[in-house]
Amino acid sequence: MNSSLLFIALLSLTLFSYWYGLKRSIKVAGGTEHRKDLTCLPEQFGLLTAMVCGLPALITLLIFNSAEPFVIEQLLTATLPAKIKTLSSVDFGLYLNNIRSIASSETAQTLIKVIELPINIDVREQYQAALTLQTLNHQSTWLKTGLVLVIAVANVIMLVRKFNLTFKARQQSETIIHTLLVASSAIAILTTLGIIVSVLFESIHFFKSVPVTDFIFGTQWSPQTAMRSDQVGGSGSFGAIPLFAGTMLITFIAMLLAVPVGLMIAIYLSQYASTRLRAFAKPMLEVLAGIPTVVYGFFAALTVAPVIRNVGEHFGLSVASESALAAGLVMGTMIIPFVSSLSEDAISAVPQSLKEASLGMGATNSETVIKVLLPAALPGIVGAILLAISRAIGETMIVVMAAGMAANLTANPLDSVTTVTVQIVTLLTGDQEFDSPKTLAAFALGLMLFITTLGLNILALKVVQKYREQYD
């Protein structure tokens, strides 16, 4: 029985045990007319039985499934001839893959037949191993099915035996539900922990081969390393300064567009616009915020970049086909609604009395906005801009599609630059072994990205909180 079938079986068993628990509790009470004698409702007995049946079995299934491939590989390795075990990890992985593909494509009968043929000893060993693998898989599947079903049924039987008139089914089931609720909320912590541990662990692995200082202060980025000694490859230098510079350049261009436009939109919509214009403009801007980033990337690479190149060439400038300007402008477009809605919140949070006082002193509307509202809302606006910067730094698809791959250290917006996120995607897409410095470098970059965005978010929250304290 495979896992999905087993899952369905377990689900039906759980449903059945709800009904069984319900019936049993009524029987304990002595018939439907005596159901009031129970301390809890029969439905609560049913619920408890269902949970006791399903939950431990489901957890067993999940643990079994995640441990299964590892254990089977270990058992298989133990049966392999000694000379295979001494292979390098790459060759050994290939050998195992080969065995797996044989085991999944041939039936056991064919394998036995092939083994009995007078063939090359290496081939025979492979088929022998494939046969072992098939047997192991088979045994493991049976073990899993048996274990899960036995746990489910045994739990139900043990529980139902304890049923009596004063059995506190509701309290017990509520304890279980409470635990489940706590566990669900703890997933947020587990996720953060998972991110930190995985990224940090791989980064430490990476910093063993490349010193931290070389990574953070190096100005040369060419992660292509030669896989064999006779191959022509890059020097494999991992200096991340060009990437940080490229990220900052594109973020800067994006902010140059998004901050003034977003701020002006926020001011106009909150201070001047009629209700009708507001009702129309807000959803329109939300459209801009809801468009997937891959669409922006397409727009940047195939519409904006050629336009910028043509205009630049018209004025005699040399523009790279993947210019930082194109990526930055489109990223700015994406961030405009983000800046405008957060700044609008900040502006409308300024107490009305300040605005009225300013107007009462004879200031014009624009003077009130510039000299009273904006300074008062400044912490909120700064918070919004910080969040927008963090968004821009972490944005991936626009730059992957519209920015370049070459790590140029330049401040010219018409040149092609690359960013941290682009390099993470480039290093990790495609098949390569997991332990090379090249793939590990992506995790080190991910660590930098995580720390930077986390820092910016915390800073933004701090700024906004301080501001709230002033007026509340």
């Binding site: 891959v294 669409v295 014009t364 993470i424």
Partner: protein
Amino acid sequence: MINIIKDATRISKTPLTTTQSTKLSTTEKVALSLKKRHQKEKRFIRTGFFAVIFGFMLVVVLISDITSKALPAFHQHWVKLDVNYQSDWLSVDSDTTQTVFIEQLQTANYRKVLKNSLYDMFPSSDGKKLSRKDKRQLFKLFSTNAEFTLKNELIVTPTQINKSVTIWLRLDDDVDSYLKEDFPIGEAGLRISKQQAQWLAQLTSEQRIESRFNFSFFTASDSREPELAGIKGALMGTLLTLFVTLLLSFPLGVAGALYLEEFAPKNRWTDLIEININNLAAVPSIVFGLLGLAVIINIFGLPRSAPLVGGIVLTLMTMPTIIIASRAAIKAVSPSIREAALGLGASKMQVTFSHVLPQAMPGIITGAIIGIAQALGETAPLLMIGMVAFIVDVPTSIVDSATVLPVQIFLWADSPERAFLAKTSAAILVLLSLLLVINITATVLRSKFEKK
């Protein structure tokens, strides 16, 4: 306010004419600067208005640019061809028994049939045989699957052997683009020669070319040939991934929100969870991809490229959104409902699940839909976990290799063939329409619940 300013002007006008202008009172100074200030005000308003208009323009330009690029992908040119299924071209023996004959049809040489039929149709202009180059160019007018169309046709009706039949065939993507956009011959990226253009003109004048709605865009899977590529595989992948995401993130998100709002004591642990949720909502999506690669694939050993893994990663990503929205909805439930239920003797758990949760449901569902819309458009984390492979088969389960619509857009946008440009834009239109439908559903649901 305008009245006040007008009054100020009126007052200031009288003394200005009578007294010396060397010593100005404050009122006079104000009056003198008014014109400038009002101009500034107007300029400021105009700038604000332009910013809003600029925002509109960006939306309009983006949508219209993509729509105009997408339109060619929705229709496709077909050509009517007279094909002669000669048995010696096919290298089958039509005199054998029925079963052997049918078997032979599976492996027959349909390419030769197509080629020879073509050469008969287009004799060289000076009556000589076609040159080798011409032959190759002629054959290249047709889609690579033209011979399979011939094969399927003959297998369905084997009696057509040794007869001349009229069949509609797909044209090659370059030819299709040429016919749609009428580009000058020899333009870069469009590989149509003068000779090919001449043939096409002849076919058009004979009314053998027809433009049809491109159904295969919705019913076919990905392909290296733009004229055959469709989005069905990607749509199925998206559906499976979102199914997993919804199945996991909705119950987990709601449970987390219920705990934090209804049960959690005010202590450090709760604060820690709250800080975590707020920070996770702002972590770049690509970092979740790194988590998926390092933990879910490399440690737990789940299959790469599978919707299951994609769904788990997107769950972790959208859960903060759902929790934050659900908490707001739960907080909005009136405390009197809780107190009334508690007063009647319900337990805390009963109050939560039978009174608070149903009341908060509209808000929770809206939050979940927003989360799903976010997951639908997400690309970067899925690139990390290998959902970026070229996959021809339509996935049928959550552990099959699959890709999703945004990733398909990314892959097609990278392809050099001109026809993929239109395909990419069309796929984007489909994605945007899906998002529109989801958002409208959220709005309708919310207003419906609110009425009750």
